[in-house]
């Protein structure tokens, strides 16, 4: 007996509205369908009416969590179109903000994963530590979320000695706190048991379905735009691509925790090797007719901007492929043959943060036609109960 469950589009906390339709057989999901468009604002069309500079602020507002990713991706493309060479110091600061953003995004995600797994104190811990990064970002850029630091040809603000000292001091606090996350699994076996084996994605599927970012790396594919196609100053910075072999939500958690430590190393390297000189070069108002594809490794995965210019001061076309979209196909694969109760966890694991909130799920019993509304809290309770008796997950070990 199969029936359909609609989920969404109202989500009280965090993320964009989205609608999911699950076809279930009992507790098992047989098919899933994702419906988009609730958050569609017509941004790409809007970009065609704005100038190159104005569009930086528009692309920044594509996403509030990876705002720097989108502007950097866009600005890199425009710099290629205008044949500009940004100064080294500017690129270093741009990379620094990018890595700080990755830290704040991963801390945010860890909290969300903890919340979905029923580990709310972990959620509060990571979000408290995240405020340290937000403070650093505010000191560097003047803003907590939309930094507005990128400009065509470099960055808008310079760093001084005092700021560098503050960042390095805060970094040691963050490192210390992150040590706790590293040993989290050994201290909290129930957390590991909840995550292991959920939302399995094999290496072959991950490649075939074009998964990106930590989702792909957790399936054992060491792919990272920062290494494969270095932009900004990543070709000078030593770092490792973090992977996990398990391919489940546990693997995605491990990848993000490992990446946190890589980020701290990158930030430290950037600050200690910051070259002197100007931070930006003057940019022309127009770009010659041409087209360009720009790639960027956002915290969630590969971000692609396609920009076409026609010789005026406005782009003719701006196409944005955000990482979450790239992960949707893989998500459906992960959801299939899983429990309904695992939906929040699996969906949160690709980091659209969509399930951070409780929302109503309507269960329609096909035999009686009766409709039942379940609040996400009940669903989570159900998920904890179901996962309690799973033997395979109990054998899982914390790999860090």
């Amino acid at each position: 007996m199969k029936f359909q469950i609609p989920i969404g589009p109202q989500h009280p906390a965090l993320k964009e509205p989205i609608s999911l339709r699950m076809t279930v057989e009992g507790e098992i999901i047989r098919d899933a369908d994702i419906r988009l468009g609730y958050n569609h604002r017509g941004l790409e069309k809007l970009a065609e009416q704005k100038t190159w500079i104005q569009n930086i602020y528009l692309t920044e507002r594509i996403c509030g969590i990876c705002s720097h990713s989108h502007t950097t991706c866009y600005v890199q493309g425009v710099e290629k179109l205008m044949e500009l060479e940004p100064p080294k110091r500017g690129l270093y600061i741009r990379t620094l903000v990018a890595e700080l953003e990755r830290v704040h995004s991963h801390l945010l995600w860890l909290g969300v994963a903890g919340h979905e797994a029923g580990f709310d104190s972990f959620f509060m811990y990571t979000w408290r530590d995240r405020e340290i990064v937000m403070d650093i970002l505010e000191i560097i850029t003047g803003n907590r979320v939309h930094y507005g630091i990128n400009t065509i040809g470099g960055v808008r603000r310079d760093l001084d000695e005092q700021q560098i000292k503050h960042i390095l001091d805060s970094l040691s606090v963050l490192r210390q706190r992150s040590e706790y996350y590293k040993h989290l699994g050994t201290n909290e076996p129930s957390f590991v048991a909840r995550l292991a084996g959920v939302g399995y994605l094999s290496r072959e599927d991950a490649i075939a379905l074009c998964a990106v970012g930590p989702t792909l790396r957790a399936s054992g594919v060491p792919m990272d735009v920062r290494k494969d196609d270095p932009y900004a100053v990543y070709d000078e910075v030593p770092f490792e691509v973090c992977t996990a072999e398990t391919g489940d939500v546990l693997g995605r958690t491990v990848v993000r925790i490992k990446e946190l430590f890589q980020c701290y190393n990158i930030i430290e390297y950037l600050l200690k090797n910051l070259p002197s000189g100007p931070v930006a070069v003057r940019a022309p108002r127009r770009a010659k007719p041409n087209e360009v594809v720009s790639r960027y490794e956002a915290p969630r995965g590969e971000n692609i901007h396609y920009i076409k210019s026609n010789g005026t001061d406005k782009p003719e076309r701006l196409k944005v492929r955000a990482p979450t979209l790239g992960n949707y196909a893989a998500t459906i694969k992960m959801l299939k043959n899983g429990f309904i109760a695992d939906v929040p966890l699996i969906f949160a694991a690709i980091d659209p943060c969509i399930c951070c909130a409780e929302r109503a799920v309507s269960l329609v019993d096909a035999r009686t036609g009766q409709e039942k509304i379940i609040v996400m809290n009940d669903l989570k309770r159900l998920s904890r109960r179901l996962s309690a008796g799973n033997i395979r997950k109990r054998e899982a070990e914390w790999p860090l």
Binding site: Q10, K15, N39, R41, G42, L58, S67, W127, V145, A360
Partner: protein, 141 residues
């Protein structure tokens, strides 16, 4: 007596529903940040609720998109009276950078009545708390 009690409990413990009507997440993250240890609005009795049926205050972020318009009205209707709406962020106030886009109607006030506007792109968590406190003062008066 009973009205006094309801008034007191409403002031001491307003439950909020956070609704994203097409925002870019920035305001949403800041609203959630207001609930976490640094800002911690829960000490004032403000609690994030899952469903509109439990909420007193709807905290709206983002411009109203055409797709969300009907859902927004439906959620507003599901909230029990007396209900209050806080428009959080420049988008919810006027549409911000998305103003003029084909799928954006404009501010939340184009669709449902709004009691308090909190400006900022995105708002700071402090501003969210300030907005809620202003609303509570309005209720008292």
């Amino acid at each position: 007596m009973l009205t006094k009690l309801t008034q007191w409990s409403r002031l001491k413990s307003p439950w909020i529903l956070h609704l994203n009507t097409g925002a870019c997440n920035a305001c949403d993250i800041e609203v959630v940040a207001a609930l976490t240890p640094r800002f911690d609005v829960e000490r004032f009795g403000i609690l994030l609720k899952a469903t509109p049926r439990h909420a007193d205050v709807i905290v709206c972020t983002g411009p109203a998109t055409r797709q969300m318009k009907d859902r927004l009205i439906r959620i507003y209707e599901q909230t029990p009276d007396p209900k209050f709406v806080i428009a959080v962020g420049a988008c919810a106030m006027s549409g911000c950078v998305y103003r003029g886009a084909y799928n954006v109607i404009g501010g939340i006030d184009q669709v449902i009545p709004v009691d308090v506007y909190v400006p900022g792109c995105p708002v700071r968590p402090d501003a969210v708390i300030d907005g809620v406190v202003k609303l509570l003062n309005k209720l008292k008066g």
